[in-house]
């Protein structure tokens, strides 16, 4: 067991007086309570203070001394970051000296002669307690990992700078680490801490050269408030270099949002905007530093509006589900085989909003689940309606977002949806973007296996748009590969792109997967894909996503063709 005395830091008192009798007079009073060391003049005192700065609890300092007097000691200590944390009590018999000493940073004074020793002890004890309390505050002031300020102190100081130094043109910066939770999960918390430390180090180095303060506000979020600069790329590079140096096997990406000084904009707003800019840089490894500007302001306003309007939009059925057909191109005539359900937002005031404007927004904060559920419900209802009307089931693909995979009721909910609409699970295909597969492979694998066991077909969406790995293709039990439109776009002009498409088709064939080519716009592209053996295509060449009533006509046409073929 550790006794409290052992936990306590040793309390050392330095008595500085040129007269031995004075030193002894204080010594006999203090030595019952403290370890006492002595100096005869200011010069010796400073030497001892530097030597014992981490043990010294207090200095009792005479003012009139040869070699170096007490005032000079106070002056020097005032400018020394390390020494100024040690409180100093001045020993004096003059009232006039007291004020000057206090102005120079003395914590208190003891009058000579030292006749009431209880008063001396009490004063020394009180000042030590005060000062240790201050140091405790100082410990709470800083983040232990990085040495940067913690959130509350940081914003307190930011506000002070803003209020009392209006002439300083300060920028707000926010720095985040991409997928920090994944770095922690994959490499252990200790490594995660090393990453935070490395970034803190980069920020501290930057702050030692620039006028500003920094904070790790929480987790992997860093804020900096510093005097305006035109270019923060060098800071980002410095931080990135520090992170990269940690391990050759782990690639760490950081992103930075900058809100440049803007007259009259308060710090809270400054940091909100810097954060918005930082969020814009999420996932964009090519442009990790984003500066907040008018365009971002408008985008942010729109985002806030959309987030605000989401629930009402669902309630009022403002979301419309459109259907884009997928055609089998390996037949004599292309034949309608299925459709992808795509969401549009018919906003009562803003008009039709593109999915590109709201899907990434809702994906970023988990609200996409609400939109997805809405679309699933509507698409299943529609599929069921067509099934009844035409006595023919045309499979519909629905998008499953990354966030949906983490919903433990997902499988159950989808099954219930099928039951409620009297649909077989094979009437619905589920499209998951490839990024969903990279997040938590174990969980994804589990979910996919359960869904496939029920009869759902799984399509890997946007294959090739992000981090695809062939290894993943062989491990994930999927049925369909949707080749991202960027592969298709240039196959007419670029031999290389065409070769790449052929390669993907070969691999898919080898793995027994059906391939859907997305974004097919021309007859030329269609022919090349058909010749290369691609099964299905989707794109403007056949049709954009259309309203259900328009899509119904396509179904009717397909049914008609079937009849003719049967005849």
């Amino acid at each position: 067991m550790i006794r409290s005395k052992q936990i306590d830091r040793p309390q050392v008192v330095l008595v500085v007086d040129d007269q031995e009798i004075n030193r002894d007079a204080l010594g006999v009073t203090l030595e019952d309570y403290y370890e006492v060391i002595y100096a005869e003049n200011g010069k010796e005192a400073l030497e001892l203070m530097n030597e014992h700065f981490d043990e010294l609890s207090i200095v009792l300092l005479d003012l009139m001394m040869p070699v170096m007097n007490g005032y000079e000691v106070l002056e020097r200590v005032k400018d020394d970051e390390q020494l100024k944390r040690i409180p100093i009590i001045v020993l004096t018999s003059e009232k006039s000296a007291e004020l000057k000493a206090l102005q120079l940073g003395a914590a208190d004074f003891i009058t000579k002669p030292f006749d009431i020793h209880e008063v001396i002890i009490a004063r020394v004890r009180r000042i030590i307690e005060l000062s240790e309390g201050k140091k405790l505050i100082s410990a709470a002031e800083h983040d232990h990992l990085t040495g940067l300020y913690n959130r509350s102190f940081f914003f307190e100081y930011v506000n002070r700078v803003y209020l009392y130094h209006k002439d300083m043109k300060m920028d707000a910066l926010v720095i985040n680490i991409e997928q920090f939770h994944a770095i922690n999960a994959m490499n252990g918390r200790e490594f995660g801490d090393d990453v935070l430390k490395a970034i803190g180090e980069g920020i501290n180095e930057f702050l030692s050269e620039h006028n500003g303060i920094g904070s790790r506000t929480h987790a992997d979020h860093f804020d900096i408030y510093c005097e305006h600069q035109d270019d923060y790329q060098p800071l980002h590079e410095k931080i990135q270099d520090k992170a990269n140096a940690l391990s050759p096997n782990v690639r760490i990406y950081t992103r930075m949002g900058v809100m440049p000084y803007s007259e009259g904009v308060d710090p809270v707003t400054m940091f909100d905007r810097a954060r918005a800019a930082c969020n814009m840089a999420r996932g964009d490894y090519q442009h990790p530093v984003i500066v907040y500007d008018e365009k971002l302001l408008q985008k942010e306003m729109l985002d806030i509006r959309l987030l605000n309007d989401l629930d009402k939009a669902i309630e009022e059925k403002q979301f419309k589900v459109y259907y884009q057909p997928k055609y089998d191109i390996q037949c004599d005539h292309p034949r309608l085989r299925s459709a992808e359900a795509l969401v549009r937002w018919q906003h009562p005031e803003l008009g039709m909003i593109s999915p590109g404007d709201f899907i990434p927004l809702f994906e970023g904060n988990g609200l996409i689940n609400k939109v997805d559920s809405y679309v699933w419900k509507e698409a299943s209802r529609q599929c069921s309606e067509w099934k009844k009307k035409y006595n023919y089931t045309l499979p519909i693909s629905m998008n499953v977002s990354r966030a949906d995979v983490y919903d433990f009721s997902l499988v159950e909910r989808l099954k219930k949806l099928m039951d409620d609409n009297h649909l077989d699970c094979n009437s619905i295909k589920l499209e998951m973007t490839e990024s969903a597969y990279t997040d938590d492979a174990k969980r994804v694998l589990e979910v996919i296996n359960q869904l496939r066991a029920l009869g759902f077909e799984i399509e890997m969406d946007d294959f090739g748009s992000g981090y695809s790995s062939l290894n993943m293709l062989s491990q994930m039990p999927i049925d369909v590969l949707k080749m991202d439109m960027k592969f298709v776009r240039n196959i007419e002009e670029s031999e290389t792109d065409l070769r790449l498409v052929k390669l993907i088709l070969d691999i898919a064939r080898y793995l027994g997967l059906t391939v859907v080519a997305e974004g097919v716009e021309t007859g030329g592209q269609l022919k090349l894909l058909k010749d290369a053996g691609c099964n299905l295509v989707q794109g403007f060449y056949f049709s954009k996503a259309v309203k259900p009533e328009e899509f119904a006509l396509m179904i009717e046409k397909e049914i008609e063709e079937r009849k003719q073929n049967d005849d």
């Binding site: 007269q19 009798i21 007079a25 000579k112 002669p113």
Partner: protein, 124 residues
């Protein structure tokens, strides 16, 4: 001769010394050391030139040391002298008056030293 008797003889306040130094042996130690303390010779040597810094520093130190030792009268006299030469204070006394006061301190110091010697002799 006891130390209390010494204090009576030299006009000191023994209780005051006890309050400050708390231990008789410390009072004994410093009263014996009084004669060797350079601050007195510093003051007496400055009597001729009256260098303000030297007089102030010496008088100030004497004031403190004597106050701690309960040598109240010496401390008060030194204090007056220190105020006369404190930087920033204007001079009120003529040089002659100052010299007279230094002389007064010297005599009182010498007679105290005499008493202390007797005390030391009685202790050995």
């Amino acid at each position: 001769m006891t130390i209390e008797e010494l204090y009576q003889q030299i006009g000191g306040d023994y209780e005051q010394a006890q309050k400050v130094l708390r231990m008789d042996k410390l009072i004994d130690k410093y009263i014996r050391k009084l004669a060797q303390n350079e601050i007195f010779s510093n003051l007496f040597n400055a009597s001729e030139g009256l260098d303000p810094t030297t007089v102030f520093e010496a008088a100030h130190a004497i004031k403190g040391v004597c106050a701690n030792l309960g040598l109240v009268s010496l401390s008060e006299k030194a204090s007056e002298l220190a105020e006369e030469f404190r930087p920033g204070n204007g001079r009120n006394l003529s040089d002659e008056d100052v010299r007279a006061r230094i002389e007064e301190i010297k005599q009182q110091f010498n007679s105290s030293v005499e008493g202390i010697k007797e005390y030391e002799a009685s202790q050995s």
